[in-house]
């Protein structure tokens, strides 16, 4: 699969060198998974090279704009093991750079001219911001439920996965409501699985990327696995859990065996979600012609790869 160049300094004004430097840093370390997903879907639908490039660039611009804003809102100092943009270039520049990316998205899509795609993209951006806004209000909310967190993650993470699945069809002017409902359901499940898997990294589970351990907890945010671990705890046990400074300390509060049991239960619940995703993906066959049906086979293993962090 061709590697798409997401950021090209020639696309941005040369008289704003700091902006270009900031973007250079920002786009350097990303995995580009969302762009990869766009390519996968578009490839089977026979979408041309230019629209695929546009869609891939769009989703990465939106995603990276959200990271710029997110890091500032969360006061995170590191992004992809490098100083976060707001620490290196000032918070004001980070905000402006994020806004500028979102504006570029609208300019680029308007040039493409598909009004339904523009409208849907605007909806996704507003979902994303709504999610960020609500998530910030949940900092130090230690009694949050998994269902409430799922709602935030559906807005923040799920919305982008839904966009990856739906936008190639919209670009092809496939507007059937039933098809898009189905893609929404698939995107919701993918987003939740991705987020839950990401939340496990915080507890050093399948953490091959070397993500900082207990980062969420230390910044006052109880993630999905944290909620799952603490939901039957006594107030006293929960307090000790929240004060844990290391994973060893945390596991001693939960109990090593209990920690493993909870992880197995969490995995079991999410495996059921993977099966649900696979059921929905099989239904996609009904909307595809023979030459497009390879897409289903491509999408079926995706949640397992995402959740179990398989390469």
């Amino acid at each position: 699969m061709k590697k798409i160049k997401i950021f090209d300094p020639r696309d941005f004004p040369s008289y704003l060198p700091k902006l270009n430097a900031l973007y250079d840093d920002l786009f350097a370390g990303g995995k580009g998974f969302r762009a990869y997903l766009i390519q996968k879907v578009s490839g089977h639908l026979g979408l041309g090279e230019r629209p695929v490039d546009l869609l891939a660039q769009t989703i990465e611009f939106i995603h990276n704009a959200s990271l710029l804003h997110d890091d500032l809102v969360d006061r995170s100092h590191l992004r992809r093991n490098k100083p976060a943009a707001w620490t290196k270039y000032t918070p004001e520049y980070a905000v402006l750079a994020g806004d500028y990316l979102l504006a570029r998205v609208m300019v680029n899509l308007s040039n493409h001219g598909n009004i339904k795609l523009i409208q849907y993209t605007a909806e996704v951006i507003s979902d994303l911001l709504e999610g960020e806004w609500i998530q910030d209000s949940l900092v130090r909310d230690w009694n949050i439920t998994l269902e409430q967190l799922d709602r935030v993650h559906n807005l923040k993470t799920g919305s982008l996965f839904k966009w990856c699945l739906r936008s190639p069809f919209l670009a092809l002017e496939r507007y059937e409501k039933e098809l898009h409902d189905l893609l929404e359901e698939m995107g919701t499940l993918l987003g939740l699985l991705f987020q839950r898997s990401d939340d496990l990294l915080d507890f050093d589970i399948r953490n091959s990327e070397g993500k900082a351990v207990l980062g969420d907890l230390k910044s006052g945010y109880l993630n999905s696995f944290g909620v799952f671990l603490t939901r039957d705890m006594s107030a006293e046990q929960k307090e000790r859990f929240l004060k844990s400074q290391s994973l060893g300390e945390l596991k001693s509060v939960v109990g090593e065996a209990n920690f493993e049991a909870k992880l197995s239960e969490f995995d079991r619940i999410n495996s059921a979600m993977i099966e649900l995703y696979q059921h929905q993906t099989q239904r996609l066959n009904g909307f595809l012609n023979e030459s497009q049906k390879g897409l289903v086979q491509e999408l079926l293993p995706l949640p397992k790869q995402l959740y179990w962090r398989k390469k």
Binding site: L138, D141, I144, R151, K177
Partner: protein
């Protein structure tokens, strides 16, 4: 049978799966619902053999379904109204027992029907904190819940029948009115709850209609003061109901259910609680005036505000509709209702100003 089945509303078996009548040996657990309450609704069910569903003990299921904590919203006012009636007339203890049992059956029956209709409409499928979740967990089939709800409402009517026969015209009118409102609260056809009329319905059913109807049944005549007493409970219940709607504002908006909370938005809804608290307080003062007790019930007002103050204070600080503090605030709303009920009941019982029970 496949593990998952997705059906659209147009599918001939859709309602059978939703009601749980599609098979005797399997249950269909709703896992994903799209476009709820529209003609394009689509639900993905997980099909599980009956033997594999983890069902708690019968007693626990019954308790979960009946939601006894919420019975305080009707039994509490009923007890207060009974004590009020006792200041007017020497009561027949069997009559009191029958009336209270009828009210309890009526309330639990309404909870069952509410669960059923919220399942059908999708509210309880989208929101795992809504209702008892007994249907969604596969503990009971939706149809059985519906039948049990109807059965309890019917039983409540049967219990009330002898009393209605004694005072037929007006009491029958009140009973039919209450039944119609109860049915219309969440049923598919009337859907008062989803048309922004839930608050008014709740106010009437747990307030003036309940207390005046009960006093009427026990004493044999209409006492306007009982309507005022009902207003205190009506407003107090609406506070709890509104706090619940505030907690569910995002899901209700998604399901296009119109409540005061969804119509007013999160911030204005928080202020509404203060207005409702003022109305319930005014009702207490009005009741004091109505029964001519020279400010004796101001003590109740003090207790009422002591219970409401933490709610108003915590609500002001609730940052978002997903904040977990909303759940605590809702529970505090129920506690405030119970505290007010107890204070009011004790005050009525001990008031030296009210009529003695020997008075006709």
């Amino acid at each position: 049978m496949e593990r998952f089945v997705t059906l659209s509303r147009q599918h001939p078996d859709f309602l059978k799966y939703l009601d749980g009548t599609f098979s005797d040996s399997y249950v269909a657990l709703p896992k994903q619902s799209m476009n709820v309450a529209t003609s394009r609704e689509e639900v993905t069910f997980e099909i599980v053999p009956v033997s594999e569903v983890e069902v708690p003990s019968f007693f626990k299921v019954l308790l979960t379904m009946a939601r006894p904590y919420s019975a305080a919203l009707s039994i509490g006012p009923a007890i207060a109204a009974t004590i009020f009636s006792n200041t007017v007339y020497v009561l027949d203890s069997r009559l009191v027992a029958v009336c209270l049992l009828a009210i309890a059956c009526f309330h639990i029956g309404m909870n069952f029907l509410d669960d059923y209709f919220d399942h059908r409409r999708g509210i309880d499928r989208l929101n795992q904190r809504s209702g008892s979740q007994a249907i969604q967990n596969g503990w009971i089939r939706a149809r059985t819940m519906y039948q049990a709800g109807l059965g309890l409402l019917g039983f409540a009517v049967l219990l009330g029948l002898p009393i209605i026969l004694q005072r037929p015209v007006l009491l029958l009118t009140a009973a039919v009115f209450a039944l119609l409102i109860a049915w219309g609260f969440s049923s598919q056809t009337a859907r008062l709850k989803y048309r922004g009329l839930g608050e008014i319905t709740t106010f009437l059913l747990s307030g003036p209609l309940l207390t005046s109807g009960l006093v009427w049944a026990l004493v044999g005549e209409f006492r306007w003061q009982s309507m005022v007493l009902g207003c205190v409970f009506g407003f107090s219940t609406v506070i709890y109901y509104h706090l619940k709607n505030l907690e569910n504002i995002m899901v209700d908006s998604q399901a296009e259910a119109r409540t005061l909370a969804t119509r007013m938005g999160f911030d204005k809804s928080k202020k509404l609680v203060l207005i409702l608290a003022a109305l319930s307080s005014l009702s207490i003062l009005f009741f004091d005036w109505a029964v001519n007790t020279d400010g004796y019930f101001i003590l109740v007002l003090v207790v009422h505000w002591a219970a409401l103050f933490p709610i108003v204070k915590r609500l002001r600080n609730a940052p978002s509709p997903l904040s977990s503090s909303l759940s605590e605030i809702r529970k505090a709303g129920l506690r405030a209702h119970v505290i007010t009920t107890v204070a009011l009941s004790v005050a009525i019982f001990s008031s030296p100003y009210l009529f003695g029970p020997s008075s006709p």
